[in-house]
């Protein structure tokens, strides 16, 4: 059985991890189907009489201060959060893997240059940069949020990847491949990439949760993806003022947020355990 | 017990020791019904190939098997007549390192990398004796000198990574012997070392044993070491003792085909053989021991009975026992 399938099996036997994965899948599905399942998240059926309505048959999770349906907004918010979280995590990890691979494979000089750069980047106060950039961004479409979060978030991955490339380079099976005459590209493709895939996947899946939290924090500050596009962060902000009179307004997105992050962390932890080379036997 | 003073019980008496590991692919019977005894002051060998359960046996004696492993009901480990498996947590702690000490295979990983070696020895002393910190330290230095570490006073404040492999193994010995145990379980104490260093350490161990008068259970996979250093040997295969004999007897007339195979498979320094006699096949995984005699799939003499009935330890000559039906039916031995 291939190591990937073994890992999959280990993952499937891990109850919490499976729960996380199922939750993630359900979330993705719900987000995908949101337009079919629910009404227009922007529709305001009656902004005077229907605002801040408690949950009812017509609005399963109630309505917000604009009379919009919270269920629909929460589901549509999932789209943004997931797109941002997954998108940025993937992008960041790709960038990080690229740089890490380059540093690990290139000569000492390039390696030094890249890694010193990464060290500097790691001491950049990410939040100040993000605040500054988002505050000035006229419109922050989800794509921009993804891009910015990714661009400021790949440094750690590149270190991990570089370290594993460096240790893999010393592995006997790489030496054996070189002795067989396999070219550099062949070694990278056949021997290095499959190995760095595991730590990269793990770091990406754990990143998703962090990025979703980050995005929510930015939205909460009124930055990031702008209203009326629903995001969980700005939904919580909408609900903040009516936290006492209409707690459901902020509760639904808040719970959705926590649940999503928990789900990704569970799945990420599970992936780490499943892909852990020490558990490979 | 009543009556006249009974014969002194052996120092260590292990009976029907069974250790199971429950894992995702079933239960592994790592050690399965092991019986062994060690008399006071004696050196006994325990040989066997990788994974046959030597280390687990040693750990089980001190009840150091950790989950998912557990010692099965019905096992007994008696030290001077006292059943260690029945002791409370505090009492067994008083045995560990004090009456029975353990030396590990990998000297680097058995030493805590972040604690000074002197402290690690002193700590072993203070765990069992009410001495001051200073005294314990002083004794630690003394122990280090005893195991042949030059400039012990200074070395006591070194960390494991600053020492060479041989030195580390000496430190481990010092740690184990700090409380002058009656029994030392030496789990492959030299496997990780070069032959020249290995010889040094074994010499040292010999000397210390004589000085302290302790018994040693020498665990190894190296038959050469067994031949040179032990009086009696147990051979393990697949979690079981398959043969037990005085050392000379074992090498002169092995009774179990596995022991025979092992002896034939070793390349010798003193003679040149054209082809080694390999034992075909390989050790099965601990989760799936074969039915019947565990060695039968690899045994050149096996017949039907071997595949269905597990042989007990059968007496070949007094003090020499083998777990093989051939003892009873020698005529089945193939030429």
């Amino acid at each position: 059985m291939s190591p990937w399938r073994l890992a999959a099996r280990r993952f499937a036997r891990n109850r919490p991890a499976l729960t996380g994965a199922v939750l993630v899948a359900a979330l993705v599905l719900a987000a995908l189907l949101a337009p079919l399942l629910t009404a227009d998240p922007l529709a305001q059926p009656d902004p005077v009489r229907l605002q801040n309505q408690p949950p009812s048959a017509a609005h399963l999770l109630g309505t917000d201060p604009y009379s919009r349906d919270i269920l629909s907004r929460t589901l549509h918010g999932a789209r943004v959060s997931l797109v941002v979280g997954i998108g940025a995590a993937l992008l960041a990890v790709t960038l990080g893997a690229g740089v890490g691979l380059t540093a690990g494979l290139a000569g000492r000089r390039t390696d030094q240059l890249l890694m010193r750069g990464v060290d500097v980047a790691l001491s950049l106060p990410r939040i100040v940069l993000l605040l500054a950039v988002f505050a000035v961004w006229e419109e922050a479409p989800a794509a921009a949020v993804v891009l910015l979060i990714a661009v400021t978030g790949w440094f750690q991955t590149s270190r991990i990847v570089r370290a594993s490339v460096l240790s893999l380079r010393e592995a006997d099976f790489v030496a054996a491949a070189r002795a067989l005459g396999t070219t550099g590209a062949g070694i990278v493709r056949r021997h290095l990439l499959p190995h760095i895939a595991a730590p990269v996947i793990v770091s990406a899946s754990l990143d998703v949760g962090n990025i979703i939290l980050l995005e929510a924090g930015l939205s909460y500050l009124g930055l990031g993806v702008r209203p009326p596009t629903p995001t969980w962060g700005n939904m919580i902000m909408d609900g903040k003022d009516v936290l006492f009179s209409a707690p459901w307004v902020a509760l639904a997105p808040g719970l959705a947020l926590v649940l999503t992050v928990v789900a990704f962390n569970l799945a990420g932890d599970g992936l780490r355990d499943a892909l852990d080379p020490r558990a490979a036997a | 017990m009543s009556g006249p003073a009974p014969a002194r019980p052996p120092l260590l008496e292990v009976h029907d020791l069974t250790v199971n590991f429950s894992g995702s692919d079933g239960v592994a019977r790592a050690v399965d019904g092991v019986d062994l005894t060690v008399e006071e002051g004696e050196t006994v060998g325990l040989v066997g190939e990788s994974g046959c359960g030597k280390s687990v046996t040693a750990l089980a004696i001190l009840r150091l098997v950790e989950p998912p492993g557990h010692i099965a009901h019905g096992s007994s480990v008696r030290l001077g007549g006292r059943d260690l498996l029945a002791l409370g947590a505090k009492e067994i702690r008083a045995v560990r390192g004090n009456h029975v000490a353990l030396v590990f295979q990998e000297p680097l990983s058995a030493l805590n990398p972040v604690l000074r070696i002197g402290n690690q020895i002193a700590e072993a002393i203070r765990a069992h004796e009410a001495v001051t910190r200073g005294t314990a330290r002083w004794r630690a230095v003394e122990m280090l000198t005893a195991v042949g570490i030059p400039d012990a006073k200074r070395r006591a404040s070194a960390y494991a990574h600053q020492l060479s492999g041989g030195m580390r193994q000496r430190v481990l010995l010092a740690m184990a012997l700090a409380c002058r145990p009656q029994l030392l379980l030496a789990d492959e104490p030299t496997t990780a070392l070069d032959v020249t260093i290995q010889a040094e350490i074994l010499e040292l161990l010999d000397g210390l044993q004589r000085k302290l008068g302790m018994a040693v259970l020498l665990i190894t996979h190296n038959l050469g070491i067994v031949a040179e250093r032990t009086r009696r040997v147990y051979v393990m295969y697949a979690g079981q003792i398959v043969e037990e004999a005085a050392t000379e007897q074992l090498f002169a007339a092995p009774a179990h085909p596995y022991t025979e195979g092992l002896l034939a498979a070793i390349p010798r320094l003193d003679e040149r053989r054209d082809r080694l006699q390999a034992i075909p096949g390989q050790v099965p995984p601990a989760t799936a021991w074969p039915e019947g005699c565990r060695f039968h799939p690899r045994c050149p003499h096996a017949w039907a009975k071997c595949g269905t009935e597990m042989p007990p330890l059968l007496e070949v000559t007094p003090g020499h026992r083998a777990r093989c039906w051939l003892v009873k039916e020698p005529e089945r031995r193939k030429k």
Binding site: F173, L180, G181, H191 | E228, A265, D270
Partner: protein, 326 residues
């Protein structure tokens, strides 16, 4: 040893420079191989023994140009290995292969055994498609792996089987010369014998040359008619194994031989027990590299100051010791 040897190593030196200290503030030079010369003839096995860290692996890898040499020369079939361009080197590598000590680390856990063996075939375009599959099957059968092994992954095999797979991988490109870097050290005795037998069979069948590296003198004696003993980056004794094993000339070889426990309770031998650890290859001692541990009663000032060169004291039997003939 009549025709030109297949592999000629001359004065080979391999040093590693690396940075040490918390943040690589100091340079350190590891003199792993320090002027080694040796030959391996076609169809011959040269044994190489020595203690851990004396530079055996480095020597083997340098010969295959898997490690950059510092100076010296390696010729394979008359060609200077270090003068080849990359394409030529790749072609050359078809002819020389290596098997490693650790069968876990030398197989990529994410490649099936079949794909691992196939790699060399593909790289050198020796066969394609079904033909390649056929070759893989044949190789696996040749090294004694059960049918159907090709689709399985390293973790599904035992150590001995993995080592067989490594051998199959090396054989796939039909090499003439194989560096066997402690191929049986990690194996149990019963399995070790199987693998050794396999290597001997293959040599006989395919006419291979081996540089057989081991720290186990008994194993080397068994496979190699000629042996080189290495200490701290240098060859200290070199000759036919019968000679070396029966009349070792170098005090180190003597100590080595007597240190090996013999699996026979009846033999009792005089033993030369060394004191102390081998010095570090970062700062090898001057003079004879062995002098700090040497127990020879005639040890003198020149041992400390003058480095002994290899001298031939018996036919084909060389030793680097000032005292060997005294």
């Amino acid at each position: 040893m009549t025709a030109t040897p297949l592999v000629e190593v001359r004065d080979l030196v391999t040093h590693f420079t690396h940075r040490v200290g918390l943040f690589g503030t100091r340079r350190e030079v590891v003199q792993a191989v320090n002027g080694v010369s040796l030959d391996v003839a076609a169809r011959e096995t040269l044994g190489l023994v020595g203690e851990s860290g004396c530079g055996k692996t480095t020597l083997g890898r340098t010969i295959l140009r898997l490690v950059a040499r510092t100076s010296g020369e390696v010729r394979f079939d008359g060609q200077d290995v270090f003068a080849l361009d990359l394409a030529a080197l790749r072609r050359m590598r078809r002819r020389m292969q290596i098997i490693f000590q650790d069968p876990d680390g030398s197989l990529n856990p994410r490649l099936s055994i079949g794909r691992a063996v196939r790699e060399g075939i593909e790289v050198h375009r020796l066969a394609r498609g079904a033909e390649a599959d056929g070759r893989v099957e044949a190789l696996l059968a040749e090294v004694g792996l059960p049918a159907g092994s090709a689709a399985r992954y390293p973790h599904e095999f035992s150590g001995g089987q993995r080592q067989r797979a490594c051998i199959a991988r090396a054989l796939a490109v039909e090499p003439e010369f194989i560096v066997c870097d402690e191929p049986v050290s990690a194996l149990d005795v019963s399995v070790q014998a199987q693998v050794l037998n396999l290597l001997l069979d293959l040599q006989a069948r395919r006419g291979l040359s081996y540089l057989f590296i081991s720290h186990d003198l008994a194993v080397v004696r068994h496979v190699a008619p000629r042996v080189a003993v290495m200490y701290l980056g240098r060859i200290v004794e070199h000759g036919p194994s019968d000679g070396i094993y029966q009349r070792p000339l170098h005090p180190y070889t003597q100590a080595l031989l007597t240190a090996v426990p013999v699996p026979d309770p009846k033999t009792k031998r005089a033993r030369v027990v060394l004191a102390g650890d081998p010095p570090s290859p970062v700062n090898p001692p001057g003079g004879c590299p062995f002098h700090p541990r040497c127990q020879h009663p005639g040890k003198n000032e020149s041992c400390r100051t003058v480095r002994p060169e290899l001298r031939e004291l018996a036919p084909g039997h060389q030793v680097a010791c000032h005292l060997a003939d005294r």
